[in-house]
Amino acid sequence: MAEISRNGIIITVFSTASAVGKTLIAVNLTAELAHQGFRACVVDLDLQFGDIANFLQLRPTQTIYDAQLAIDKNPEQFDPLTYTTLYKYEDTSFSVIAAPNTLEQSYNVSAKQVGKVMGELRREYDYVIVDTMATFTELNLQIMDISTIITAVAIVDFIPTIKNMKMGYEAMKRLGYASNKIRFILNRSNAKTNIEISDVERLLDARFYHVLPNDFKAAVESIQSAVPIVLDQAKRYSPLAAGLIELTDKYTNRTGKARSTNTPVTQQNSGGLFGLFRK
């Protein structure tokens, strides 16, 4: 265990639809936090089809499957660092706990043990970023319970997705999550759409906490090069990278190290997914 007991921030990236950019956001948040000097770890809890190891072209020998087995068997001896894989690019490095290698393993992951692993991770890292599966599962709910912030990712492509955003958010409210724990991020993605964001906000009577610009090309290139956009000198000044850095800054303000003047997350008493579903 670390001598200085940290109490790291857990940021969960969730959405009610898949293929909305969760992994891209999770990886870049982690990379930018690391770039800013924080100890950061990203955990791939999209257990069945998680792509973080693919994205970063890592070949992990240990995954969350092994970690949760180990903490169950021998909690006293458990060292979370055994199960991380290091990602390094130039001067920046961060840790990854990959999704299980097989679907069979993903089926045998205990939500309870993953919760314990998360508890250990937050003692080692300033920030633990979690990528998730796009559905309400026992594991996701447990992780959201212990998360400091839930980053709910939305895209505006067509109406059914918007319906699912609203259904998901309302379910989260019924589950008792404080609206200021939830941050709604709109990823412009590559959605060719004739729906205006303003129409969505009007439809939902709500607003987004942060909007990422449309830069599908940069995103795809980043996947191909296995370098997070925020770390790639050629892309760091692209609108998408700037949007991701700005989002990171919003989340790091509480430490006083942030460069922007956004209102710190922990001091906001309103906001939330769609703002507040204004009455």
């Binding site: 639809a17 898949s18 293929a19 097989t102 679907l103 796009a134 559905t135 059914p160 259904m167 998901g168």
Partner: protein, 372 residues
């Protein structure tokens, strides 16, 4: 409806039920009560003189199957429907195996009686259940299913049922602009009381031959849909539809496994968009390969494929190392606009590449099923 009246031989152990059902039969147009018995042996021995054309036989007894076989032997040309207080898959299978032509829950209404016989009169249904699974969203699976249902109905002239089993975030209701009174939640809740005839009313018709059983109203309700009840629901729906298409969540959940296990075919579908789709497909197929009849039961589809050519299909096949059943072109804007308007089928032009692709796939499936 048959041109001739049915002459019904009714056998029911419970006197009160017998009287009630006798009254229903007498009040139903197209039916007359030939004779009614509380004892099945009496009916078997004495019923012949009434020359019944339809036998309704109480099967809530021991020895029930032997009795059905006796009736089949004695009345080889007379239609026989089993009567039971409760439908169950096991009971249904047993009575059909013993020679009954169908199952009717007692007591029945005039409508249920007429519908049961109508199902019976139609050509024997060889239902085919296809489960659609996609490892990630945005593959266009729901759009494809909606359109395939229409195309299969057109091709087969049979009824097609869509079951939206994407329990938390199913979109089928929205795609067809439905606001259903009954959903999959009510259907599985009531399943023990239902028969194919009564289950039919939980499906919402979206065209003459296509009906939809919608998903939950809110995500939490997904917990009320137990895999075993869901399987019973699908099995019962086989008595209604020639094709049953099941839309699944984009993950292996208990409902996914139940659907794929019970389906005759599992269609695994993923889009091609420069990510790790081939890897995801391989991972999925590894799971299905544990089935002995994997090669017959699993079909691979890629969607949003550009260019959508035979060369491309073969290339994907090579990359995947597994046969690719078909590929579907990318017409994102056309499809998303149609979905936005709740007119997912009507707004898609029949001359569009997507519609042509769906029609060709429906034809290919139907032709294969006829041969099979």
């Amino acid at each position: 409806m048959a041109t001739q009246e049915y002459r019904v031989l009714l056998v029911e152990n419970d006197t009160k039920l017998l009287q009630d059902m006798a009254t229903v039969i007498q009040e139903t147009v197209g039916f007359q009560l030939a004779a009614a018995y509380t004892d099945s042996h009496d009916a078997l021995n004495q019923g012949g003189i009434f020359r019944p054309t339809l036998i309704l036989l109480d099967v809530d007894h021991i020895d029930t199957y032997a009795i059905i076989e006796d009736f089949r032997e004695k009345f080889p040309n007379t239609q026989l429907l089993a009567l039971g207080k409760k439908w169950s898959l096991n009971l249904f299978r047993s009575v059909i195996k013993s020679g009954a032509g169908g199952f009717l829950v007692a007591p029945f209404s005039s409508m249920e009686l007429v519908n049961s016989v109508r199902a019976f009169e139609e050509e024997e249904i060889h239902s085919k259940v296809i489960a659609f699974f996609s490892p990630k969203g945005k593959s266009g699976k729901t759009t494809f299913i909606a359109n395939l249902a229409m195309a299969l109905a057109e091709e087969s002239q049979g009824r097609v049922g869509i079951i939206d089993a994407d329990l938390q975030f199913g979109d089928m209701a929205m795609f067809f602009n439905l606001n259903p009174q009954s959903t999959i939640v009510e259907a599985v809740r009531d399943i023990v009381f239902l028969s194919p005839t009564t289950l039919n009313s939980y499906f919402i018709p979206v065209s003459e031959k296509v009906s939809v059983l919608c998903s939950t109203r809110i995500p939490e309700m997904s917990e009320q849909v137990m895999p075993d009840d869901f399987t019973a629901l699908v099995q019962m729906a086989r008595g209604i539809f020639q094709y049953i298409l099941i839309d699944l969540p984009p993950a292996f959940r208990p409902i996914t496994n139940a659907a794929c296990e019970t389906a005759d075919m599992t269609a695994v579908m993923t889009m091609i968009s420069g990510g790790f789709e081939i890897e995801h497909m391989k991972k999925c197929l590894d799971i299905f390969k544990t089935w002995d009849d994997y090669a017959e039961r699993v079909r691979v589809f890629f969607s949003r494929v550009e260019p959508c050519t035979e060369d491309m299909r073969q290339r994907l096949e090579g990359e995947l190392g597994n046969p690719v059943y078909d590929i579907i072109p990318n017409e994102y804007l056309l499809l998303s606009t149609a979905a936005n308007n709740g007119r997912i089928v009507a707004d898609i032009r029949p001359d569009s590449a997507f519609a042509k692709s769906v029609a060709a796939i429906a034809k290919k499936m139907y032709v294969a099923d006829r041969k099979g």
